[in-house]
Symmetry: C2
Subunit: 460 residues, 2 copies
């Protein structure tokens, strides 16, 4: 036996099917300082529901703006869909603990065991459901690495909705297999920037030969939605509604831990736009906000795209084309694009308004990690725990290992919980670079950041 | 709700961790007509254990030759490893039933939720364990599509064994990501035929420019094993030992069905070398052999490589280089290579001796299906059940759907169980061909088959 097992705790804690949450938890209800409202890009006034209805589905707008209701019912059709791949396992990392020789107890919530390969499906199915309910023909979106696009394609296929995905051109070319999965689910996938939209044409004329960015693909998807009859735009991260849907991750995690009387000391999640981290921590953060319990909560971001650790808490555009509402968030500036050699995902310039407010209020910490250290952790984890992690998820693995090694020094038996958001089957080009010693660590200089931060819009 | 759910049966039936089998079931013990013995390629006499020790690990040789012991203990270390990804779910395909509007009840045992992406890990970890226990340095093997090579790499990494994989050249070139996953687990991967072995050199000189075959890669891996100090050869299918290890699939399936009082009417599995099918059906076949129950059992093979439905039951070489022992099996002749446009896996020229004997004794049926019909079923399944299936597994899906549609006509509420052996994340090139309408159906002519069958060795 390589591992010494706690008598009562299995390798994988599975909840029963009827223990899947039937309500999402809205952490905003427990926040004293609410996340700042979205602003109209023209007037810089807070967006009203009616103004958002042209872009987003109505029910989703309501969820976006609802800072008060703590629990929101999950419609039965969504719960049914969740049953196809949920509850997801909470895994006790016995093998990793043994390998590290740490007294810490490590748990991870594994969201990769579905065909989209990540947690993104939790929100995709909700957004597709409300689009269908509103009688829409379809939805538009952007995707970078492709996890969100894949998830949305699956969700739209389930409800018979059309799905138009703008995929960052460099990913479109480097990840033909992701594109092909989306096609399997009937989605149309267009490399961005494209000539299908005005904003795409404009970007192409200003930057011929550009390989695209997430912010630019967002602009195209939004334009397509608002100019097409029966379409709305959907987004896989950053938004309040997305964190609401992703609360199923945290609710299941908490229920599984509670079953075995385990109280986490440290909760760790990777953070790009914040969808996974926000979902994982939500019920724990709720307890913390209500003063019922305390947890150390750590957001992990790439050193090459460090919005929490080196960004500014300010209003910024959510997209490059500046057609979207402004959000108050930790941001590197909407023109910031991580270096092309950045392979580890989490490349959005901003961060969820909810998490930004919580971070600003010191309810959580953030650290940034270098790309090669992330891939070292990923490979170690793959070999020991038998799951090939997504580069994004591996940011959390890296810090979980670091914290477990600290426990080894101090002898503390801390309970460490982290989010393993997805699998890396479509990221083998990055792994190959790492194996071949061709992966570099890029960290933006202060000058670069100052340049893009200097362009932040002025909002009183 | 899209699906009407049976009150008591969840979407996914998960056994508890302590319900993972602790013994493998050896179906040979219940066979009146035992599978024919392996023959020495030089003398054509039955192989004795000592003769096999140079090629295979000793404990595995014993398992290979044991036709009598019905239950064989699974070592604790292997059970521990199984706990990292087992028990695998038995899924009730509510959504598929609803879509087909069939009164049939469809279940599938899903073996794809581990990083190797298939059931192959069940035997890989066993073979690596016995190699480690024997004090070996490492093992050699071949891989075609890459599932077996990936599984073995994971298993060897777990036990700290060296792993040398000969990968059919055409796959090596077309599936760089599979190769990269193996590298992540520390395996060395060589395109076959190579100049590393005498048999590889010989094949290259006779067929310059060949893209390789499974039979040829086997020859290279065996040569490497017997000429390297501290190495043995391991194989992912066909062998009796592999079917023994894979019995965990069937044992878990039966236990899960028994829990809910479900008796399958039809059991369906895809068949290449027979590892999945043999494992899935084993405890059911045991009951059938003992006269305790009856089940319809269907092997599904590709029309382009139809060993059961168009092959001959005869002694043949297991490899192209004719260095391996001979096995009595349904075979197309060891020189048979499926057409290069065959994308659906299951491309081995022969079939497990156990299954061949059972088929010859009429304990099971076999059907062959065309490639495009398999991909149609695969895409339908992906959209409805949310799992992107491996092309191999999709052969079983195709026939499960066919049988469910027959039930729709007759109104019979049959219980259909099939094996969903793995996921198709590394098969997107084939899916792309299918989407682009470039996939062809190739069926060998009688002349072609007769030509390769005419070369079968003469054995009295």
């Amino acid at each position: 036996m390589k591992t010494e097992k706690d008598k009562n705790i299995p390798y994988k804690i599975y909840l029963k099917e009827d223990e899947i949450p039937t309500q999402w938890y809205n952490v905003r209800a427990d926040m004293k300082n609410k996340p700042a409202p979205l602003l109209n890009p023209g007037t810089l006034e807070p967006m009203k529901a009616e103004e958002l209805y042209g872009v987003f589905c109505e029910e989703l707008v309501k969820q976006e703006l609802d800072n008060e209701t703590p629990y929101i019912d999950i419609p039965g059709e969504i719960v049914s869909f969740y049953k196809m791949y949920r509850p997801s396992p909470l895994v006790r990392a016995y093998c990793l603990e043994e390998k590290l020789q740490t007294p810490a107890k490590i748990y991870y919530k594994f969201e990769g065991n579905n065909t989209s390969g990540s947690h993104k499906l939790n929100s995709a199915i909700a957004q597709a459901y409300y689009a269908k309910k509103q009688g829409l023909k379809g939805v538009t979106t952007e995707t970078g690495a492709g996890q969100w696009g894949t998830a949305l394609s699956m969700a739209c296929s389930y409800f018979g909705l059309d799905c138009k995905v703008y995929m960052v051109k460099v990913s479109y070319e480097q990840k033909p297999f992701r594109r092909e999965v989306m096609r399997t689910y009937g989605a149309s996938v267009t490399p961005s920037p494209s000539t299908e939209t005005e904003v795409g044409k404009k970007i192409l004329s200003e930057h011929p030969g550009t390989t695209g960015s997430l912010g630019c693909a967002i602009s195209e998807a939004v334009e397509k939605a608002v100019t097409s009859e029966g379409y709305r735009y959907v987004l896989g991260s950053v938004l309040n509604q997305v964190l609401l849907h992703q609360s199923v991750i945290g609710l299941e995690t908490k229920k599984a831990l509670d079953k075995y009387g385990i109280k986490p000391d440290i909760i760790i999640g990777c953070a790009g736009g914040g969808s996974n981290l926000g979902g994982l921590i939500s019920p724990f953060m709720g307890e913390k906000l209500r003063g019922e319990a305390d947890y150390r909560i750590i957001a992990v971001e790439p050193a090459s795209c460090p919005s929490f650790t080196r960004g500014r808490y300010a209003y910024d555009f959510c997209d490059t084309g500046k057609v979207c509402p402004l959000a108050k968030m930790y941001t590197l500036g909407c023109d910031f694009i991580p270096a092309p050699n950045h392979a580890g995902g989490l490349r959005y310039h901003g961060m969820s308004s909810i998490l930004s407010q919580l971070y600003d209020d010191k309810y959580m910490e953030a650290v940034s990690v270098s790309q090669t250290s992330v891939f070292e952790a990923a490979e170690e984890f793959a070999r020991i725990e038998g799951i090939l992690p997504a580069p994004e998820s591996s940011h959390a693995i890296k810090v979980a290992i670091d914290e477990a090694l600290k426990c080894k020094e101090t002898g503390e038996e801390k309970n460490i919980v982290f989010g393993l958001t997805g699998t890396g089957y479509f990221d083998m080009v990055a792994y190959e670079k790492f194996h071949d010693g061709l992966m570099e660590n890029y960290v933006p200089t202060d000058e670069e950041l100052n340049e893009s931060l200097a362009k932040l819009p002025e909002v009183k």
